[in-house]
């Protein structure tokens, strides 16, 4: 299979996970299992297989920025890198929803953050951390009751 074909398989897989996360309150446990564990697991397995098959013959390496740039000129390794993003971003997205439920956030409060985690992963993570810190730093009467 060409890297282009695999790319076309991996993207919809991740997208399914994100759509499921968006409607997570409908079936929190099932969707968490599917989008938080199964899909990231499948994508990670795909990443591992791609690296086993293609990493040894790829140019470049991890020593310098130029090495890393050279590494990603290989289509198969670039695909592996992309699948790495898809897997870990989705895992973080599901973790955010789990943590938000523990914190007592309403789903609609976290929902606007999810697209950021999907598209610009770390920026979305920072947005969630900010939300969490604000909640802790400036407690409302409601959360004060919860945290004692």
């Amino acid at each position: 299979m060409t890297p282009e074909t695999l790319f076309m398989i991996a993207n919809p897989l991740a997208l399914m996970g994100w759509l499921a996360l968006a409607i997570a309150p409908l079936a929190p446990r099932l969707i968490d299992l599917f989008a938080g564990w199964v899909l990231p697991g499948i994508l990670s397995l795909g990443y591992a297989v791609l690296m086993l098959v293609h990493f040894a013959d790829a140019p470049g390496g991890f020593q310098t920025l130029a090495d890393v740039q050279a590494l990603f000129t290989d289509a198969d390794v670039a695909l592996a890198g992309w699948v790495h993003y898809l897997a870990f971003d989705l895992f973080i997205g599901a973790w955010i929803l789990r943590d938000a439920r523990r914190e007592g956030f309403a789903h609609w409060v976290v929902l606007p953050i999810l697209p950021f985690v999907f598209l610009v992963g770390p920026a979305g993570f920072v947005a969630y951390l900010t939300l969490k810190l604000l909640r802790r730093g400036i407690p409302s009467p409601d959360t004060e009751a919860r945290h004692g």
Partner: protein, 274 residues
């Protein structure tokens, strides 16, 4: 309304022996090896690189299957041992040693496939040094069989039928005793084929030569003593005369050892087994 008043005999708790049990540690590592096929089977389909005429992932997959069969077999056999403290402690050591040995083997064979280089008979100094140390790891792996075989040998007050106990002891011990020289000779020689010409005629799946001597036949038979001899033991359980049953197991074990020795000598003489 309880069963007795309904006229049913009281429920009998399910006998322990009706279900196949297994040592959890050995079973877990065995299942982990089977799960690792999720990496190598897709790699086999995606990878176009060849080494010595076959896909680079064929060899790791053969190792995974062989190790999984070995580990699951030992896991099941372990559950047949008496559960005293000494044996439990010994099984823990066997489980730990086999776990580490299995990981080392798979990392070595899988890593070699990743870099499309030969894991065995590689002339590169670093690779041949690793190969040498992997001989030690392989010895540890078959020591697990010897340790378990000796446990069955000394477990005379076992609940097992005597023919089965003896066959387990002999099979497991033979696996070690026969594999050590077969695999040791394989490792000492420059390759597994003995003789010429090698044009590529092989037995399907197993890959044994059909034109020259191939020491891997003896290695295969040696490893599977732990399956073959206990099968004879199971057959011997049907005999009502205990002395006859013991005799059959001993004869079967000696016959199997002779067969393996024959395959070994045949390969050394450059003759194909098939």
């Amino acid at each position: 309304m309880d069963d007795a008043r309904m006229g049913f005999p009281p429920a009998i708790p399910r006998a322990r022996g009706t279900r196949i049990a297994a040592d959890p540690m050995l079973l877990r590592i065995g299942v982990a090896v089977i799960l690792s096929l999720l990496l190598t089977l897709p790699a086999l389909l995606l990878d176009g690189r060849m080494l010595q005429g076959e896909n680079v992932w064929v060899k790791p997959i053969k190792f995974q299957i062989a190790l999984a069969i070995y580990l699951v077999t030992l896991a099941v056999f372990a559950s047949l041992l008496p559960k005293d403290a000494a044996i439990t402690r010994r099984l823990r050591w066997i489980g730990l040693a086999l776990t580490l040995g299995t990981l080392a083997e798979l990392l070595w064979v899988g890593g070699s496939a990743m870099f499309a280089t030969a894991s065995h008979y590689n002339p590169h100094p670093v690779m041949s040094a690793i190969y040498l140390s992997m001989g030690g790891v392989a010895t540890v792996l078959i020591l697990g069989s010897l340790m378990m075989g000796l446990s069955f040998w000394s477990a005379r007050d076992n609940h097992l039928p005597e023919a089965l106990r003896l066959s387990l002891a002999l099979g497991l011990i033979l696996t070690f005793v026969l594999t050590l020289p077969a695999a040791g000779t394989l490792a000492a020689l420059p390759g597994h084929f003995i003789g010429t010409p090698v044009t590529g005629a092989v037995v399907p799946i197993m890959g044994w030569s059909r034109e020259v001597g191939d020491l891997r036949v003896a290695h295969f038979l040696a490893m599977h003593a732990l399956h073959a001899v206990p099968l004879i033991g199971v057959a011997a359980m049907g005999l009502s005369n205990p002395a006859l049953a013991r005799g059959l197991v001993w004869a079967g074990a000696l016959g199997y050892a002779a067969l393996t020795a024959f395959a070994f000598v045949q390969a050394l003489a450059g003759q194909p087994a098939f």
